[in-house]
């Protein structure tokens, strides 16, 4: 007998299988729509029937006792304001049964995720029961519970292994991301902070605030967003390229037979990795602060005076980290110092695997070192480290440490519109987001920016990986 169920994976086959199972199943399959254990009970798989029944009961209890407290309020995110009365007898404050918008949002979302998972299991259950019916009708062996269990250690072992990671990803990644997305559509900010105040849905207005443009002094978010996005991309590009190229050049230099005490040099460069960034960056920040060592030296050798005379600066110090332009360049330079050793390590590893025969033949053909680098070393490096380069770029978009530690408390914007949006010229999207939540409790705008960061990262990753994996790259490199 031909199998009416599709064995393909995917959403389409899943639903069509469910339809087939419901349409063609016998009474026990159809009863499984209501009582999830029915089909198993009919095939004498009593343990499974019990488990499914328990699951069903659990889902119903969860719905009644947990979800129903929150989900009905999901549309309004709560209406009962907190009110208090002091009780002189107990010396305690007594509260009414007030709504907490955030809890409603979070637990409703959690309920939706649970329901979604339950419905998937429920549909899958019907298909499984139908599959059992087919086996029984074809006179094939129907597994006992012990045999089923054993299969999870055998041919279905991958399922056993993946259960925990998938659950972890769902609870710790999917739920927070969905929560972030939901908050972007609310007015959750300092004026609407639970538990005392309620927040509610506001539709797309936060997105309009951010993307609607306009540089009015009163609402600078659109203005600041464009500039910060621009700097974020410029920074990522420069931070990635400078350290990448610098790292390769440095490792070539340290691999060169002309250099003495190579190990010593390599170790010295590793020291910057050994010192935590938190320490080295804060030190750098102090070196280059308005009254730091760098400024003292520049003032003593007359550089500060010279720059003042030619009109490059208007202050009595060089604003290394406190004026736009200066700070942008300094941040990239300091990042080179911090980033090169990492890239050097990677490049050294790759270069050691450079096919010696190609270098040999290039030498015999009379190629000079530059030509060898340009046509053999570099293409090979790019081929091997291409994906890592893309990852680096995306990582730099979110490079919180360098920007935050170097500029926090030091850099103050002189642009009123930026200041009104609580932004600075040297902010990355992610540091701006951090300060909006940390200092201003502006969770709604931070969520919108978070979504934007996600979109930017996703777009760049997709484009880059698509281009990289297109065609036979190995052939091109050869």
């Amino acid at each position: 007998m031909e199998n009416p169920l599709s064995e393909k994976f995917g959403i389409g086959p899943f639903f069509s299988n469910f339809g087939t199972a419901v349409a063609r199943g016998d009474w026990s399959v159809k009863l499984s729509l209501l009582w999830m254990g029915a089909g198993y009970a009919r095939r004498k798989q009593y343990v499974k029937a019990l488990i499914m029944t328990a699951l069903e009961v659990g889902a119903v209890l969860f719905t009644i006792f947990f979800a129903m407290q929150y989900v009905p309020k999901f549309g309004t995110l709560g209406t009962v304001q907190a009110e208090q009365v002091f009780n002189m007898e107990t010396m305690k404050t007594e509260w009414n049964d007030y709504d907490n918008s955030f809890m409603i949002l979070l637990f409703s979302l959690f309920s939706f995720v649970v329901w979604f998972a339950f419905i998937a299991v429920w549909m899958k259950n019907v298909v499984n029961v139908y599959r059992l019916q087919l086996r029984a009708e074809a006179g094939q062996h129907v597994n006992t519970f012990v045999e089923d269990l054993r299969s999870y250690l055998d041919e279905k072992f991958h399922i056993t292994l993946l259960t925990l990671p998938v659950l972890g990803a769902a609870v710790f990644t999917v739920v927070p991301i969905l929560l972030l997305i939901l908050v972007a559509f609310t007015n959750y900010d300092q004026q609407h902070m639970p538990p005392t105040n309620l927040f509610s849905w506001v539709g797309l207005s936060n997105f309009i605030t951010l993307l609607g443009g306009g540089d009015s002094l009163t609402m600078g978010f659109g203005y600041a967003f464009v500039r910060i996005l621009g700097w974020t991309l410029v920074w990522s590009l420069f931070a990635t390229l400078t350290t990448y190229i610098g790292g390769i050049l440095m490792s070539l230099l340290l691999n060169s037979k002309l250099v003495r005490a190579r190990k010593l040099w390599r170790t010295l460069f590793m020291v910057t990795i050994a010192v935590p960034q938190f320490v080295s960056l804060l030190l750098m920040r102090n070196f280059f602060s308005n009254t730091g060592i760098a400024n003292t030296i520049c003032a003593n050798i007359g550089l500060t005076g010279f720059l003042r005379d030619v009109g490059a600066i208007s202050t009595t110090y060089i604003p290394f980290l406190s004026a736009p332009g200066w700070a942008h360049v300094m941040i990239i330079l300091i990042n080179i110092w911090i980033g090169i050793p990492y890239q050097m390590l990677i490049a050294t590893g790759v270069l050691m695997n450079l096919p010696a025969d190609q270098l040999e033949s290039a030498r015999i053909d009379g190629a000079n070192p530059y030509q060898t680098f340009r046509h053999i070393t570099m293409p090979y490096m790019l081929f091997v480290t291409g994906p890592a380069l893309v990852t680096d770029f995306v990582k730099n978009i979110n490079n919180f440490n360098v920007i935050y530690l170097l500029t926090e408390d030091v850099y103050t914007t002189t642009n009123q519109v930026m200041a009104n949006a609580q932004a600075k010229e040297v902010d990355l999207l992610v540091t701006w987001l951090f300060r909006l939540t940390q200092d201003y409790y502006n969770y709604k705008m931070a969520s919108v920016i978070g979504i934007m960061v996600f979109i930017v990262c996703a777009v760049f990753t997709l484009i880059a990986f698509n281009r990289m994996t297109k065609g036979d790259k190995e052939g091109v490199y050869q």
């Binding site: 002189m88 010396m91 009163t218 308005n290 406190s322 103050t412 200041a419 009104n420 200092d439």
Partner: protein, 447 residues
């Protein structure tokens, strides 16, 4: 072998301790610091008798105060327990700086401490978020247990400190100190008291001495000094927005443009050092300045750096147009508030009251040199003899309570930085435009 076992045991014990410390809940940083533990150990001393409140249960309270106040608070907590011997307490003291209390509390009000110290500029935000219990509404328990009324407490503290603890006509916290303002420290070996009277002579004297005068400009708190002095004001509306008149003309006939031009003149003086907010102690210790605008928190670093020349006075005057204007300042107070979501709000109020009463304020001055807000405590000879307190007193006639909304801080900070960096042209039109931009940003609606 045996040694190894012992080592393993010790390590396990340390781990458990560390875990226990972490498990302390959402309290910030080192909740398990020594004072809190000493507080715990003594909690079981008095057996709880059935007192007037009729409850024999142990009252658990969490108290947050600045790191440098930990010893003081631990001592006062013991005194509190002794003052209410009929009740058993379990009071934990945690570290939370007064300047950042708001940020930690608003992150999760329901798990924050029952009683916490904070600077008065955070009061409005805390009240708006519903984090503070109204003290006015707690008159009954205070009368029943502490033997005084809220009105008595208001009368016992200087009016400015009560005003700082009041928002929309309701008192939301107990004044703990009245010293959170700024004034001028200077080195009298390099600058004479006369020279310290005006910005012009002060800067010239500093230049002649080869040193500098420091002040934070990139901060709405310090920046306001020049404007408040000239009679300009700020205000906070009920919806949390800010009002500001700095781009106009003040009641005393000074225009905002004249004030900014005076500031530009000061900032561009070679002997002026713009200090980054919070960096003043470093500048003093590094010997970069011979005079600095700062507050009582820098009194120890200044007295160490200036040695015998250590002196303090009110802020200097400046010339706005052809008028001499006395710089104003922001009168700040440290307050002790009670979490509105406290599980034991009654006793929390009594603890906060006790920690800010006359006796506690005197202890606070003796141990921490913090200027009291209590009128009786203020009049003690020790307080009067203190250099920094005297300067604060001299400045107090020109200080105001700063009432601003959340949108005030960033634009004004940026404005101060623009003056510090000299990015605004000094002609009238440019300054007026910059001021208009500042006012537009500060008075913007929230959103």
């Amino acid at each position: 072998m045996k040694l190894k076992k012992i080592l393993a045991l010790v390590l396990a014990a340390v781990m458990t301790l560390a875990l226990a410390a972490c498990g302390g809940g959402n309290t910030p940083s080192n909740d398990s610091s020594t004072p809190s533990q000493s507080g715990n150990n003594d909690a079981d001393a008095p057996a709880s008798g059935s007192d007037s409140s009729g409850s024999g249960e142990t009252i658990s309270l969490a108290l947050w105060g600045g790191e440098e106040d930990q010893d003081l608070l631990a001592g006062r907590v013991e005194a509190f327990k002794a003052a209410y011997p009929d009740q058993t307490f379990d009071i934990r003291v945690g570290v939370e700086s007064e300047s950042t209390a708001k940020d930690t509390i608003l992150t999760d009000i329901e798990t924050a401490a029952d009683v916490f110290a904070f600077a008065d500029d955070q009061l409005a935000d805390l009240v708006d978020a519903g984090a503070l219990l109204s003290i006015d509404s707690m008159d009954q328990p205070i009368q029943a247990y502490a033997g005084k009324s809220v009105a008595d407490i208001k009368a016992a503290n200087v009016p400015v400190s009560v005003e700082a603890a009041t928002y929309n006509g309701t008192m939301y916290a107990f004044p703990a100190t009245a010293d959170n303002g700024y004034f001028l420290y200077y080195d009298s070996t390099r600058i004479t008291p006369d020279q310290a009277k005006s910005w012009d002579t002060l800067l010239d004297a500093a230049q002649a001495a080869g040193s500098k005068v420091g002040m934070t400009l990139a901060s709405g708190w310090y920046l306001a000094s020049f404007f408040y002095g000239a009679g300009f004001t700020t205000g906070r509306n009920e919806d949390g927005t800010t009002t500001m008149d700095w781009n106009g003309t003040s009641p005393s006939g000074v225009t905002g443009v004249q004030v900014v031009q005076a500031m530009q003149k000061i900032a561009s003086h070679p002997a002026f050092l713009p200090v980054t907010d919070g960096d003043s102690s470093n500048q003093i210790a590094a010997g970069n300045v011979c005079a600095i605008v700062s507050g009582t928190w820098d009194s120890i670093s200044c007295s160490e750096a200036f040695g015998d020349g250590y002196a303090a006075t009110k802020l200097p005057t400046y010339m706005a147009g052809d008028k001499e204007v006395q710089s104003g300042s922001v009168a700040g107070c440290k307050l002790m508030g009670v979490n509105a979501y406290s599980k034991n709000s009654g006793w929390a109020v009594l603890l906060a009251e006790f920690l800010t009463n006359e006796e506690s304020q005197i202890a606070r001055f003796e141990q921490r040199e913090a200027g009291p807000s209590n009128i009786n405590a203020q009049s003690s000879d020790a307080v009067k003899a203190n250099v920094a307190q005297a300067a604060l007193g001299a400045q107090s006639g020109f200080s105001v309570i700063q009432k601003v909304g959340g949108k005030y801080w960033d634009p004004s900070k940026s404005f101060g930085e623009q003056i510090a960096q000299g990015t605004i042209a000094t002609d009238d039109a440019s300054v007026q435009t910059a001021l208009d931009d500042l006012v537009a940003g500060v008075t913007a609606p929230l959103g």
